[in-house]
């Protein structure tokens, strides 16, 4: 069993053919890396935006709802291409890794060195744990339906708890200006953002009031439901655009 488990997968090429196909692998990987760093980072900046940029936007209601919903998009599309055509279960992890490369580059160079924000005030969220699980579910199930339902839900449900170890400590309260604030709120007050005043924060607003203070699980389950619908939508988008017919038309 152990020997069988360690067997390398077979491949149809040897010699020069194998060398050339390997060179092609690296070429595609480098291109994909830059493509996903740029495209996925832009997508997240435009859709998740301030919720990911600032500490004082990472609330219990909107942040866990919007972030997974907008971040499951590219992983689903890329999984559709890589799994359907190559049986590579790494689409989600690849997308999230590229996103984090782009995000950390901008947080350090644009936010910190160019605009002087301390990096801890602009720490990004991570969705790598969710992405790993999404890839694993796809590989083990080989099913879009199962991955949509269980993978999509896990993707959303894991988001808040996997980020709490990073951001929980910023919710320690302080007395400031004769009121109670979190350290995250204090970043928003102290570190001046001329174009993003406090009232623009879409935080803690909505109708999740009936269940007392348990807003986060409700948001997470709402996001889970939406992610299980968003996943197949973007899967089929990815599949539809993974075609050579546009090249043939040129």
């Amino acid at each position: 069993m152990a020997i069988k488990a360690l067997e390398a997968p077979s491949q149809p090429y040897t010699g020069e053919k194998a060398r050339l196909t390997r060179a092609y692998d690296y070429l595609i990987l480098v291109l994909a890396l830059f493509l996903f760093i740029g495209a996925f980072h832009l997508h997240v900046a435009l859709t998740v935006g301030d919720w990911d940029f600032w500490q004082d936007w990472k609330d219990r209601q909107w942040w866990p709802l919007v972030t997974p919903l907008m971040m499951i998009t590219f992983p689903a599309a890329v999984q559709a291409v890589l799994w359907t055509n190559f049986r590579l279960p790494l689409g989600a992890t690849l997308c999230m890794s590229c996103l984090l490369i782009g995000t950390w580059v901008t947080r350090i160079f644009a936010y910190h060195l160019w605009n002087y924000f301390p990096i801890n005030a602009v720490l990004p969220a991570t969705m790598l744990p969710s992405a790993l699980v999404l890839d694993a579910v796809l590989m083990l199930s080989n099913s879009v339906t199962v991955t949509s339902i269980f993978g999509g839900m896990a993707f959303a449900l894991l988001f808040y708890p996997s980020n709490w170890p990073i951001f929980g400590m910023f919710h320690v309260p302080v007395e400031y200006g004769a009121t109670q604030l979190t350290l995250a709120d204090l970043f928003g007050f102290q570190y001046i953002r001329a174009g993003t005043p406090e009232y623009l924060r879409l935080i803690e607003r909505g109708t999740l009031r009936t269940y007392g203070q348990y807003a986060t699980p409700l948001s997470a389950f709402c996001s889970a439901l939406l992610c299980s619908l968003m996943y197949p939508l973007w899967w089929y988008l990815g599949k539809a655009f993974a075609t050579t017919k546009f090249v043939k038309n040129i």
């Binding site: 194998a18 692998d25 002087y116 801890n120 694993a136 708890p161 990073i166 200006g177 109670q180 807003a215």
Partner: protein, 411 residues
């Protein structure tokens, strides 16, 4: 065709070189960009002052001032139900340590009342060395940024010396510049390492063409090995376990945490300081003479005080037209753009107690054009607004917030 393309490419390269070799510093941040009627008839700033303009890192700068919320609020601008007193600066080169509106500490957004009078105090702390232009300003929801007067500040010293310590409710002192950074980076590094390991696991073996070929040959099952599946199961079980364990540890480490705070500050206006009623001013007509860059206000002044008064200043959108020829004091404002002899009155004699007089006040200066206020005549809402300052012999000040439609004269 080829030559044209070459020329175009050459021109592009030259432009690029010109832009990169000789960059110019942007010294403004859009303070004149907002339409004039919004700048004139929303937040009317006066008496703005700053404690010092040369600082070293960690020094405090105190900005104080007053503003009147215009009664004639433009119809096209949402009412000030959500506003934020801010400071325009090139990023957090200063931090905002304290802020007060009408003496009340304020850390959040607030609603303003039309016709209300407010004073403010903002305490800043220098963080980055450099030369910066700061304005107090108001973010108005769905309307834009209404700038107060601006001023240049020089900060010396070393940014590494900056400290920003805060005491939490648990009694712990934390340094805001570095708090939680190492922990955040460590968690990111941990997950990135796991993600990279998963990617390398697949990248180390032949990828695209061989795998595609095998799928086409119906050998797709061979592409996922039993060890791959084992790893998948490990991820499926291990990742949630780590996530939930780490969450539980964080909860234990920080038992007293609260959600982000989203309340608005409730701040009532001061007792009226503008349009008090002792000296009433009503503008009957305003003409703007375009070639002369002069605004003439026909104003009915009703002096109900027991002292004669004279008109000393007209201030609008941070431009101050002074009547220095009359030898009157001016508002206590360290900023703004000033036309020292820009204001004249056709009947300079004091308006006596109990007298009601119609006077013609002329505010003439190129500042109407330079500050882009003359665009008012081409605005959809071409009504003028501003503060008129009148003084009695003891230098006591009466302030009137005035507004009226403007009639342009093009020749």
């Amino acid at each position: 065709m080829l030559n044209a393309a070459k020329k175009l490419l050459g021109a592009f390269c030259l432009s690029l070189c010109a832009l990169t070799i000789a960059p110019t510093i942007a010294n403004a941040h859009g303070e004149k960009a907002l339409e004039p009627f919004i700048r004139m008839r929303t937040i009317q700033w006066y008496d703005v002052q700053w404690s010092q303009d040369k600082l070293t890192v960690n020094d405090e700068l105190v900005i104080t001032g007053k503003f009147h919320v215009a009664e004639d609020w433009p119809r096209g601008v949402p009412k000030p139900d959500a506003t934020y007193l801010n400071v325009s600066s090139p990023g957090p080169v200063f931090i905002r340590v304290e802020r007060y509106l009408n003496g009340q500490a304020s850390v959040s957004s607030t609603a303003l009342k039309l016709g209300g009078d407010y004073d403010f105090k903002i305490v800043m702390k220098a963080r980055m060395p450099g030369r910066y232009h700061l304005h107090p300003f108001f973010n108005l929801h769905d309307a834009g940024s209404v700038m107060g007067p601006g001023h240049w500040f020089e900060v010396e010293g070393d940014s590494a010396a900056f400290a920003n310590q805060v005491k939490t409710l648990n009694g712990e002192m934390v340094e805001m510049e570095t708090y939680g950074l190492a922990n955040g980076v460590a968690w990111h590094a941990f997950w990135i390492a796991l993600g990279a390991a998963w990617l390398l696991w697949w990248v180390q073996r032949p990828m695209f063409i061989p795998r595609y070929r095998m799928l086409q040959l119906g050998q797709g099952d061979a592409l996922i090995t039993p060890l791959d599946r084992l790893l998948g199961v490990a991820i499926l079980l291990g990742v949630p376990l780590v996530v939930l364990g780490a969450q539980s540890m964080t909860d234990r480490a920080y038992p007293n945490v609260i959600p982000l705070q989203a309340a608005m500050d409730q701040i009532e206006p001061l007792s009226p300081a503008v349009n008090v009623g002792i000296v009433r001013v009503k503008i009957q007509r305003a003409d703007y003479l375009v070639p002369a860059r002069a605004m003439t206000l026909q104003a009915q002044v009703e002096n109900n005080s027991d002292q004669p008064v004279r008109i000393g200043e007209f201030a609008t959108a941070n431009v101050r037209f002074l009547n220095l020829a009359a030898g009157l004091p001016t508002s206590d404002d360290a900023g703004g753009v000033i036309a020292k002899e820009g204001l004249s009155v056709d009947a300079p004699d004091p308006i006596q107690p109990g007298e009601t007089r119609v006077v013609r006040i002329t505010a003439a200066d190129s500042l109407w054009q330079r500050e882009r206020l003359d665009g008012l005549i081409r605005d959809a809402d071409s009504r003028l607004g501003g503060l008129l300052f009148l003084y009695d012999p003891s230098s006591k000040r009466h302030i009137a917030s005035v507004s009226t439609a403007v009639i342009p004269k093009f020749d």
